[in-house]
Every structure is written in structure tokens, then in C-alpha cells.
Amino acid sequence: MTDVLQPPADIPAHDEAHGHDEHHGPTGILKWITTTDHKIIGLSYTVTSVIMMVIGGFFAEIIRAQLATPNGHLVSLAQYNELFTMHGSVMIYLFVGPFAFGALANIIVPIQIGAPDMAFPRLNALSYWLYLTGSITMLSGFFTAGGAANFGWVGYAPLSNSLNTPGSGADLWIGGLLLTGFSAIFTGVNLCATIFYLRAPGMTMFRMPIFTWNLLVTAILILLAFPVLTAGLIMLYADRHFGTHIYSVAGGGVPVLWQHIFWFWGHPEVYILALPFFGMATEIIAVFSRKPVFGYKGMIFATLSIAALSLGVWAHHMFTTGVVLLPFFSIMSLLIAVPTGIKIFNWIGTMWRGQVWFSTAMLMAVGFVVTFLIGGLTGIYLASPPLDFFTHDTYFVVAHFHSVVMALVMGAMGGLYYWGPKITGYLLNERVGKFQFWFLFIGTQVFTLPQYVLGLKGMPRRIAIYPHNPEWKMLNDWSSLGALLIGISTLLFVANIVVSWKKYPAGDNPWDAHTLEWFTTSPPPHHNFYRLPPIRSERPTWDYNHPEHRALGHGSHKNEVAAEVVHKAPHS
């Protein structure tokens, strides 16, 4: 018996040499702008978002250079406000988000579940074009007379109204977010539909890889949160240009309403950013420990708990407003630490008694866990209003979220090293990768740890100069050094791509990995699979390659290997 998935009838098998117009399809630029293949779209997202990372990183280096002296004159006060606004905006809206759910998700989710493409390929392509044009729109604020948006990536009213921030930079910021917001919403729809409807036979929901589960929950969060932001932005635009008074006191509006709406989106957003990287780390740690994911169902339960709770914590960003229900948001925010802790213990459990191999991907994944632990623990302080009152809007908070976000960057790099060979067919150089990791990891700690201290010493955020407190200089210098190390790690990454270009062919499964995407070729063919193995667990490729090492059952069947014997299908 052969278990073979026949390609859909109207697509020729790859070895049919001629006759089908697919081989004479568009080439070059036209091919790129008309593609609906999730792998090419995902690659476009990857390249664009990494470019955004470099742009945002460039702004960061200028900020850190400015803060290296108490009365820096590198940039003016006005330019500084634009810089940190656009640094945050580019990094969050245009890099981490799209990378998380547009880049690797697009490429990997369909092949992890055995689907030929995403459920709505043309909608997928539209998402990319909205993202690209949204990014261009937001960044073009720099070319306007008043400069780019300068009211912080959170755009609080009334600072963001037309009286306090006239000028089209702000409107371009709003417009860019409308486009990228719809891009995200459409991707959320696509991910849900793909995961619900296009799984291969035998791939039940509880056999999906953790990465795919996390992307499903991310997609649901996107659908819950992004429309709220879009509505809030439209109202902001209306206040700015249509004479409404939704957020302004003068007309009977309520400025703090902006914050409620923004953060109702904003908190799920940070989990939208984080969950895909949690998924990546899970996959990488399991593969490079040569063990199954420990506590698979617990992981799923934890992910769902994080999603559920994340909709009820938004006002912990507003504790200092004095107008929110402190105890409710405090307990909900403290509770979110619990599922995060479950994940960390499950990662440790996966490595426990394994055979841990430190490829670059695994270094990045472990670096992610360590850094996220630090950032997560400091988050617990912020969940307590009395402790938040004096750390809010200081560098303590800046350090907390940068710890967490840099952890996500490590996760992203891990994902690129791990899945890069599957997508491109070529491995990256491991030696350069290890250098990149150490610069990134050490740079992150050198960058963030002094900032915790600075915040406790009273340094507020979003200030360009600190002439009254020159004693803050040394800690700022250490932090700027850390930023420099991070910048070097980015250069090393780019260097690695250059040095490894088409040099080390990967083969189907260079990591002896577990999940379905490693069963197909690198890169996968059009519509992804020539053949599929039987799917009897969440590790179909591993079961196929190592039938005598299937995951152990639990409870009373602890010492038996799971029942089913796998027939090896001919694998040409």
C-alpha cells in the first residue's frame, strides 16, 4: 500500500516536461506582483520585514548615540520625538508583527499541516500589498514638511490631535496603520480558514504542531483586536479632520477613551507578536533535543489561556491615569504569568534527558527563553499598581519591553536559521551564526540591564536630554554599547546571508526534524507535497523516519510504545 497524496488533477506532476502554460507563466517583476503562492508571499514578507527591522534599528542607533551624553546635540528635540515614535512604530507595526504572522507563518503553516497553499491565495497576496504600501505610507512622513509622526508609537490623544500635532506626518502614520491593519486582519482570516479546513488526512487538531496551534490562536487574537485599533484610528482621523470631538474635552469627549481603545488592541497585540515566536522556540527546542514537545496539551492550554486573559488586561498600561479599575486589571495581569511559566517549564522538560545539540537555531531558542524569563519577571512588577506608579513611563518599562522584544528577535533569528534551509534549500553558515548569537544575546543584556537601573533612578522615557542628571550618563553609555553590539549582530546576519549564498545545499531534512514540512523537498514544490506520510501523531516525519522511537504514551501505558505500526511508503 502506498500512502500518496495525488496532486490536484489540473496540475501536472513536476516531471512532465512541457505543454502546461505554468512553465510559460510570468517571469521577473510580473511574476512577483501576480504571485499567489504562499511561499513567495511569505518570502516577500520576510525580506520586507527584515528591511523594516534594519530601518527601525537605524533609528535606535541614532537614539542611543544621542543619549550617550546628558546634553546631546546629535539631533534636535523635535527630531528626537520623531525618531522614537518611528522607531517604535516601525519595529512593532512594520517588523515584528508582519514577520510573526506574515512571513514565517505564511510559508510554514500550510506545509506543517499538509495543505497545498493558504485557503485564500489571492487574499494572501492582497495582505502583502497592503502591508508594503502601508509601510511606505507610514515612512513617507519623513518626507513631509512637518516631519514624521512624533507623538510616540501609541499616539495618545490629545497630543495626537490636529491642534497639537498638525501636519501630514501624523495622517500618514494613521493611514499606514489602516492599511497594515487590514493586511493583518485578512491574514488572520486566511490562517483560521487554512488551519480549520485544509489539514491533511489524519492531521487532527491535537496532532498539529505547536507552531501552527500558536498561529491559530494568534489569528483569532488578530481578528479580535485589530478591528478595534482600526476603529480608534478612524475616530482619531475624524477628530483631526472632520471636526468631531471624540477624544477632546472641549467638545465633550474623553481623551482617556483613546487609551482604552488603543490598549484593548495593544495588549493582545503584544501576544500576537509573542505567540508565533513561542511556537518557533517550541519546535526548535524539541528538534534539537531529539525529544517530543513536553506537555503538548499543556502548551496548547497555556496558549489559549494567554489569549483569553490578554483581552482583559489592557488597562495595566493605564494604571497611572487614576480612572481605571486597578484590582481587576492587576489580578488578570498577574495571572498571565502562570501560562507563560507553564511554557517555560515545558521547554525545560523538553530538553530534560534529551540529546541537546547547539546549532545556531537552538542557541537562539535558548537565548529567547532566558531573555524572555528576565523580561517576563519584570513584567510581574508592572502588574502591581503601587509598583507600576513609580516605574511607569520610566526606563524600567523601556527595559522590560525591550527584554521581551529582543527575546522575540532571537526567536525570529532562530526561526530563520531553522526554517531558512526548508524555504531556500540552503543552510546558513553555523560559525557566523554562533558569532551573531553571542553578539545578540550579550548585546541584549548589556543594552537592557542598565536601563532597569536607570528607570529606578528616575530617568523618564521619551526624553532627548537629561542635563539635570549627568550621573545617568554611565548607565546610558553601557546601554548604548549594548545597542551597538546588537547592531553588529545584525550586520553579521546580513554577512551570513552573503557568505552562505547558495553554498550549503540542505536536503529535505537537515535537522532530523519532526513535523510534516520536513517530509517534503527543500524548497517545497508547487503545491507543496508530492507525497505525504501517514499522520498518526504530532510528529509524522519523525514517526516515519524513526518508527521504533515514537513518543511514549502516558498514564498506565507509560512503558509501551504507541500501538500503530507504520508502513514505510516508497520514497523516491
Binding site: L77, A78, Y80, N81, Y156, P158, L159, N164, P255, V256, S289, R290, K291, V293, F294, G295, T320, T321, G322, V323, L326, P327, S330, I331, L334, L335, A337, V338, G341, I342, N346, I348, G349, M351, R353, G354, Q355, V356, F358, V366, L373, L377, I380, Y381, S384, P385, P386, L387, F389, F390, D393, T394, L456, G458, P460, R461, R462, I463, H554, G555
Partner: protein, 259 residues
């Protein structure tokens, strides 16, 4: 877990401060103790987890190509690390509530100060008197208040959102337009304490400074009387000026020359 730790800290044995000070008010001290308790808890948990990770990656480094035992579950262990963190969280929440209720209590106050934030400075008025202290950016105004007294603050803004932050009080609160944010301080130490705006408010956000000066009760009364007279004189002078400098239009302005 945090409560016994907080008790340990409160007992006054030599615990490091972890970057925060007991501060100058009664509530800043409670907040400080909460901070120390949280930090001891965080350190214990953090070091424990880091050691576990370090052990896992070192002890189970790849030795050969053999495939390890494919263990996937251990329900008792998993439930343990669900339940214990939940208990810790409830402990932290309880400690939080205690300090929070104390910090946000509204006792009877003898002194009231209205704080008005604006782009880019602060104005302190003392209701019932003519005392006004106002200053912008680096010309930082000083809010004077008496020691060992419940001082009630009414905080608002006339334009955008600002942040009223005094490090020595372990406290900050937003100044919101259209909202009267109220809270109480009881300072236990005299001195001058630095304050700064922490919420981005536009161009000179980096320079929106103020001071809080806590003085003895008698010094405060003296100062207040002085300010009251100065304020009354100022108000009278302004009225006089308004009466003498009446606007007299000269020529009607035409639209010419402005295109």
C-alpha cells in the same frame, strides 16, 4: 510566598534595597517594602529557573547520535507547575491590595494644593489663598508643603496629558485634561525633591521639571502667608494694568497686502 518575605523585609534586617528607597512619604515606604518583597520572590524564582535551564543544557548536551527516551508527559509535575504559580500570584495580589489601599486612601486632609500641568510647566495654587507658584521648563516651580501633614493634591492638565512624577515619593499620576485626579501625601522627611514630567507631551517634554519642598509646619505657614500677600499684590496689579492699558484700535485693518 511574598507575604512572609515582606514580613522579613519589614522586620528591618539588612536586606538590599534593589534600587528603590523608602522615600519621603508614609506610602512610599510601604511601596518600598512591596518592591523588596516582589524582588526577593522574583530573584528566587528567576535564579531557580535559570539554574534549571543551565543544568538542562549542560548535563544533557549531545554525547552521541543515540535517540533519548521519548517522554512526552508527566501530569503530576505539570499540575504542580500550574498550581504553585497560581498560589504565588494570589499572594502577590494580596500584598498588592494591602499597599494599594493604603496608598490610595482618602484621609481627612488639612492642606490642599491644586496642581495644573501645561505645556511645558507646572502651576501650583493653594485654594483659599492667593498663593500661586508657576514655572516652565528649566525654571522649575517648587511646590511647598508641610511635613507630617495629610496634603491633598488635585491634579489636572490644561492641554495634553502630562505625568506628575516624584521619585522620592515612589509615585506618579497622569495629569489629564478635564479630569481632577486626587491623591494624598503625608511626607515624613523635610527636603527638596525633584520632579519631572513622565508622559510625552510635545517638544519640551524632556525639560518639564518641578520640585517638591517639604518644610516644617511653621515654615510652611510663614511661606504660605508670604505667597498669599505676593499673590494678592500680583492680582491687584494685574487688575490695575488692565484698567490702564485699555486697547484703543487705531486704523481698521484692511485685507490689503496679505495674500
Amino acid at each position: 510566598m511574598a507575604l512572609p518575605l515582606a514580613a522579613l523585609a519589614l522586620s528591618g534586617c539588612a536586606v538590599p534595597t534593589f534600587g528603590v528607597k523608602p522615600g519621603a512619604t508614609t506610602s512610599s515606604k510601604s511601596v518600598y517594602h512591596l518592591w523588596v518583597g516582589f524582588t526577593i520572590g522574583a530573584l528566587i524564582i528567576g535564579v531557580f529557573v535559570l539554574l534549571l535551564i543551565a543544568y538542562a543544557v549542560l548535563r544533557y548536551r549531545r554525547k552521541d547520535d543515540s535517540i533519548p527516551r521519548q517522554v512526552q508527559y508527566h501530569l503530576p509535575l505539570e499540575w504542580t507547575y500550574v498550581i504553585i504559580p497560581i498560589l504565588i500570584v494570589f499572594g502577590l495580589f494580596a500584598a498588592t491590595l494591602v499597599v494599594e489601599n493604603k496608598e490610595l486612601a482618602n484621609p481627612k486632609t488639612d492642606v490642599t494644593i491644586d496642581v495644573n500641568a501645561f505645556q511645558w510647566g507646572w502651576k501650583f495654587t493653594y485654594p483659599g489663598t492667593n498663593a500661586v507658584v508657576v514655572g516652565q521648563t528649566t525654571d522649575a516651580p517648587t511646590m511647598v508643603m508641610p511635613v507630617d501633614t495629610n496634603v491633598h493634591i488635585n491634579l489636572t492638565s490644561t492641554d495634553v496629558i502630562h505625568g506628575f512624577y516624584v521619585r522620592a515619593f515612589n509615585f506618579s499620576r497622569y495629569a489629564l485634561p478635564g479630569v481632577d485626579n486626587q491623591f494624598t501625601f503625608n511626607a515624613v522627611k523635610t527636603g527638596t525633591f525633584f520632579g519631572q514630567c513622565t508622559q510625552l507631551c510635545g517638544l519640551y517634554h524632556s525639560l518639564m521639571f518641578f520640585n517638591v519642598k517639604v518644610v516644617s509646619k511653621s515654615a510652611y505657614q510663614t511661606w504660605l502667608a508670604q505667597q498669599n500677600n505676593a499673590g494678592a499684590a500680583q492680582a491687584a496689579a494685574t487688575v490695575n494694568q488692565q484698567q490702564t492699558n485699555t486697547y484703543v484700535p487705531t486704523k481698521p485693518t484692511s485685507g490689503s497686502g496679505v495674500k
